[in-house]
Subunit: 368 residues, 2 copies
């Protein structure tokens, strides 16, 4: 299918909420040795569990490099509903390098192919080249045979936005206004892109995301919609946690906001797990904590909000933490019609994200 | 979809004739510098013309390496009905490394994934490693979500067989009984594989294929079915042409054969183009002929039989030869319901094959 000129909004498309029906979920397969320890084998085990959890609810397509094709095919071969295909990438973050799907009211699907610069390019980005990631959205669009809208000159990652499907978008200023994303664009110009390509009307700007999130505070690790007019926000009552002020600042914005339908927002909260730190593992088996720039252990941006809504289910990360049960209860209460499946999230967190970051839902247009 | 045990025949599948309706044609994109001169650019132009010709009649999916994905996507972007996807290979010979599709009567499609050894492995094979080619059939099967039958220990290329879809197969002893394919299997054991995996009953063994065909005489460059009970055979009346005796030996076999329905075969002939030789091109523009092992110019195995039947059409190679018109007339007479499109075949021939070799049809099961 062709590259479309014009904008999705002008052509009648909008981005639906994540809870709208899906055709499938897209994922990528971990391999990169500087992202994943021990030959990526622990990560592959963790991803396999995520794939299996999602596949209980909807089909999953997993893209791999040529080198990993047979390995991934074999590892995932016993999970019904999973398709392994060759689809190379620089790493696994399908949420961020993949397309954002939009639908219209006539049963048609299209893909938004944002510019991608690996979360900051050469000014704080997370790996030095990203040209293979940059082709992922186009590859997915061509595989699905759907029209593609590119945004040359406008950088965005899918994890930096959440929508309610009814005209409202939440994001963080920390990420979208960062100098390493779109420094030549004003906040208003950035909003115009969001309005034109996702068909949203109201944009809610949280100041920051989670502390020490290397994506520069992606909203999908901090706050999400759970229903029209309802959001879920990470929360801590520990005043010494650097997330304490971030949570309160976000709450203040959310409580003062109206969505595109004029509703005030009902804000639910979900606890943050106890601080988790990156562990350095040597070949000899000795371990030590990875120091941050001040020589202190590097805090990982663990968050239960980094879950994926699938058809009839929720796939959420667990961290072997006492808060796991509280977080699961929270999601079960907020999504009473869905089955909540918790999957170990620690290994994925070590690589830099979690379940929402490594997935991208393909909505099923009504009438399709 | 799973790897199937058992055989296609036992599960109700058979290989349909090439003239049965197709869902699409699969191709691969040329890149390999030791197969294709001048950075493969002339070959890419030639392949583009083949893609465009087929796409007039049915959808075409073209697999490329990661490195060539954007180039191929751009070069083919203006041809409606073409899908470019990432699907790596060692070279372009989808007929030989791709799956052989089989169908059943209930609308179901499956893929036979033959062992592949690059036309002879380390004993006369055409390139030294073929592990990426060996994954192509599985990749295609997974992309289509169809069951796959593998034949570990049995080597076959799709170009070494033709079927009438009614129980008859033609092949050449030169290829299928070559010591570099299945030296541990008897002719009878090889026939059992063909019967079990393609659901054929009668196997017609031509002694040889075209002279100097580096595939060891693939039948698809020499003789094919054009209708039930009718075959088309390359022909020369030049007694000095090394193909002279090959053509006559094949004719003798064909005239003595009955097909699976008990019919004698009607044998049509098509001329061979005037001898073509490989040209060595230097960067300075000087050209010379590539010598064979005797210091004589290397004869290329040019053949008009290396065409593809598509939905409503025939896509055939031309060689800038006076026989082009005769060959086209022959196919127009044999396929009066189909439009015959001739595409320049010289550059593809230089790489070692022609239009049938670089394509693989995906039949459309009735009821699907």
């Amino acid at each position: 299918m062709s590259l479309k000129t014009g904008t999705p909004r002008a052509d009648g498309y909008h981005m639906p909420a994540e809870w709208a029906p899906h055709t499938r979920t897209w994922m990528l397969w971990p391999e990169r040795p500087d992202s994943w320890r021990a030959g990526a084998e622990p990560a592959q085990t963790a991803f396999r569990a995520v794939v299996a959890a999602i596949a209980r609810f909807e089909p999953v397509t997993v893209g791999t490099s040529q080198a990993q094709f047979l390995n991934a095919s074999e590892q995932l071969s016993d999970i019904p509903g999973v398709t392994v295909i060759e689809l190379s990438s620089d790493d696994v973050w399908m949420r961020d390098c993949g397309p954002t799907f939009v639908i219209d009211d006539k049963g048609s699907l299209a893909a938004v192919d944002w510019d991608f610069n690996a979360w900051g390019g050469h000014d704080g980005g997370l790996y030095p080249t990203w040209d293979i990631d940059s082709q992922v959205a186009r590859k997915v669009a061509q595989l699905e045979g759907v029209a593609r809208y590119a945004t040359p000159g406008f950088v965005l990652e899918g994890g930096s936005i959440h929508v309610d499907g009814e005209g409202t978008l939440i994001t963080t200023a920390e990420c979208l206004l960062h100098r390493n994303r779109n420094p030549r664009l004003s906040q208003g110009e950035i909003e115009t892109y969001l309005r034109d390509y996702l068909a949203v009307d109201t944009i809610i700007w949280l100041p920051e995301g989670m502390f020490n999130d290397e994506t520069d505070g992606h909203v999908d690790n901090f706050c999400c919609f759970v229903a029209p007019g309802e959001v879920l926000l990470c929360w801590t009552d520990d005043a010494k946690d650097p997330n304490y002020s971030r949570c309160r600042a976000a709450l203040e914005v959310l409580e003062a906001s109206h969505d595109a339908k004029g509703r005030t927002l009902r804000v639910h909260t979900i606890p943050i797990p106890a601080p988790l730190y990156a562990i350095l593992e040597s070949e000899g088996g000795a371990v030590g904590q990875v120091p941050d720039e001040h020589g202190r252990p590097e805090r990982l941006a663990a968050s239960y909000v980094n879950f994926l809504i699938v058809n009839g289910g929720i796939v959420m990360p667990g961290f072997d933490d006492p808060m796991d049960a509280v977080a699961r209860d929270t999601l079960e209460r907020l999504f009473p019609e869905r089955e909540v499946v918790m999957v170990p999230g620690g290994e994925i967190l070590l690589g830099g994200g979690n379940i929402h970051c490594i997935t991208q839902q393909q909505p099923r247009p009504s009438g399709a």
